[in-house]
Chain length 352, copies 2
């Protein structure tokens, strides 16, 4: 359960998305955003020439050219990517939080005793202002009841069904189409030159694993995220089942990201991509290794094509995916590369 | 820390290995046991023809032949292997426990306050009978102090150094040479036909990851094991470090094996290999999926070439790597395949 991330939720953002949420998500099964074939010459076709694109190209050269002093053997090539705000849109609300809110009616239908209990009563009321005012412990209750207590197979099936039909309120498109085309190109390019690409997300590991192969070309076992315990038991027919527990095993945010990388991957990445203070320790851990390391931060500075938030806008640190001035200063001081969505990206989405 | 496995340690076995342990492991750097090139025709060259070899071949045919009704797409091909007693020798003591006992002098040198404290005093005394009589909580203290409290980099370096020089008391060879050649062939064969091979061990995840690539051709991220938490912090120079904590995250034994598979892999394997009651739930979980699933158990019935223990010998359940009569009965009832080391394997080790 990404409980700690809930503290980053901006109330006005929550209100905005609640106002825009359909009572039932649209019924059209969306075309999947699939990996586009990338030829060597057009590997980063959606990137403008500039320091960000050059940093990626130089990293690839330095670590894959056998003549380079910082050559990295193929088996050691690991690259990690935050998801929300780095690979896809995180505004106005994390997609997984939308899922949890929309799951409440189904959960209550199975557990009628929750109908008149807060915070479920408020969520069911449809009073968006009241929902937006729910205190954090109530939001955590919503996450727990919608993300745990079912078998892993049932959870996977529910998320798969939802992600196929849910729509983002601004674009009225499936969330799975709101991935950044330039970042898809980085994923493909790094894989083409032998890097194993991982998602390292503060979001729920089980949630992201449902669609990561389809959307990013990343298999379930290469998704590291906030993870709860499961319990093995047998159902009435004696068949083994795994049930999702409310016990947190890994809070994969901030210091939890390098800890999660050690647990799930067991070695230090050579490249790390993020967009917020939640990614700071992951980039520091990546950079503390020897040789050439690539550390990049996506700066959301394009209010027209996507959203603008972070230090350029002087928004407060509590904003979703906060990119603080302190993070910006650390990036500049330590040679991390800041990606300007406005200046570095020719287009944001595949449908642009 | 594989604390729960400690309960499986047989006291007489502990005594036997303690009697045979060199005070310092030999100084010759061993040749690594490397993957041997396997041609298609000789994929399982060390296997006698019989039901075990046929079960493997039939599984490969059923899941990789496109014309098969139980064809499995390459991206879904996952195979999991227990380590101790399944891939390499576990008698008379788990290799990792030997490591922990041999690390005690170095730990005490750094923490002199432990010198006169039990159980370290007894371990340092060299009184092998007294060491063998140490109660379980004392053994756990030894595991905690030798496996946690240091940086992950320091731990990796120590294990790497030790595994290169330590010798098994019976064969006077590096533990890394005591891998079963027929099982190496299964690993290679399954990889050759598109399976991703994982170790799923009750032993320490960080320990096994140090040598898994060299010994089994399995990269660190494909080793699932008993895992403790780590803590991210900064050293005196401001450099990020990860420190191994005594807090257990995953006890990867028995029911913990399918739970660990879900945490680290996120989907159900098609093939699972084990040799003890610690592998039962993993094989059950594997078998509960649709289509063709391979479940195999290594039976140690070759006292001449390796060891004999388990139901055929009527040994008690507390034996290391216990293969109980109940497990044998479940295997027969549910169509798992029991591998007889004596009858199914032409040779046990590469050096045979």
């Amino acid at each position: 359960m990404p409980v700690s991330r809930a503290s980053d939720i901006n109330r006005r953002s929550l209100l905005a998305i609640l106002a825009a949420l359909p009572s039932l998500s649209g019924g059209v099964f969306p075309a999947a955003v699939r990996a586009q074939a990338v030829t060597a010459g057009s590997a980063l076709a959606s990137w403008n020439d500039g320091p960000a694109r050059q940093a990626i190209s130089e990293f690839v050269r330095a670590t894959t050219d056998r003549a380079s002093p910082n050559y990295v053997p193929p088996e050691d090539r690991i690259a990690v990517f935050d998801q929300d705000g780095t690979l896809w849109v995180e505004h106005p609300l994390y997609t997984q939080v939308v899922y949890c809110l929309e799951r409440v009616p189904a959960v209550v239908a199975n557990k009628p005793e929750l109908r008149d209990v807060e915070p479920f009563k408020t969520v069911l009321s449809g009073d968006r202002e009241a929902i937006a005012r729910l205190p954090l412990p109530d939001l955590e209750k919503i996450l727990v009841v919608t993300l745990t207590g079912m078998s892993v197979d049932d959870f996977n099936a529910e998320v798969k069904k939802w992600i196929a039909t849910a729509r983002h309120p601004r674009w009225q498109r499936p969330y799975t189409e709101l991935v950044y085309q330039p970042m898809l190109e980085v994923l493909h390019h790094l894989r083409d030159v032998g890097y194993k690409t991982y998602i390292v997300t503060g979001g729920g590991q089980d949630f992201v694993r449902v669609y990561a192969q389809q959307v990013y070309g990343i298999p379930p076992e290469q998704v590291v995220g906030t993870a709860g315990a499961t319990t093995f038991s047998y159902d009435r027919d004696g068949k083994p089942i795994l049930t999702k527990d409310a016990k947190l095993l890994l809070n994969d945010d901030k210091a939890g990201k390098p800890e999660g990388i050690h647990l799930m991957i067991g070695r230090r990445p050579y490249a790390a991509f993020g967009n917020s203070t939640g990614d700071r320790e992951m980039l520091e851990w990546t950079g503390a290794g020897a040789g050439t390391r690539l550390r990049m931060l996506v700066l959301h500075d394009d209010a027209t094509r996507e959203f603008a938030y972070g230090p350029a806008q002087g928004l407060p640190d509590t904003k979703v995916g906060s990119f603080t001035q302190a993070l910006y200063d650390e990036a500049k001081k330590d040679g991390w590369t800041v990606i300007s969505m406005k200046n570095d990206w020719k287009r944001i989405f595949a449908f642009d």
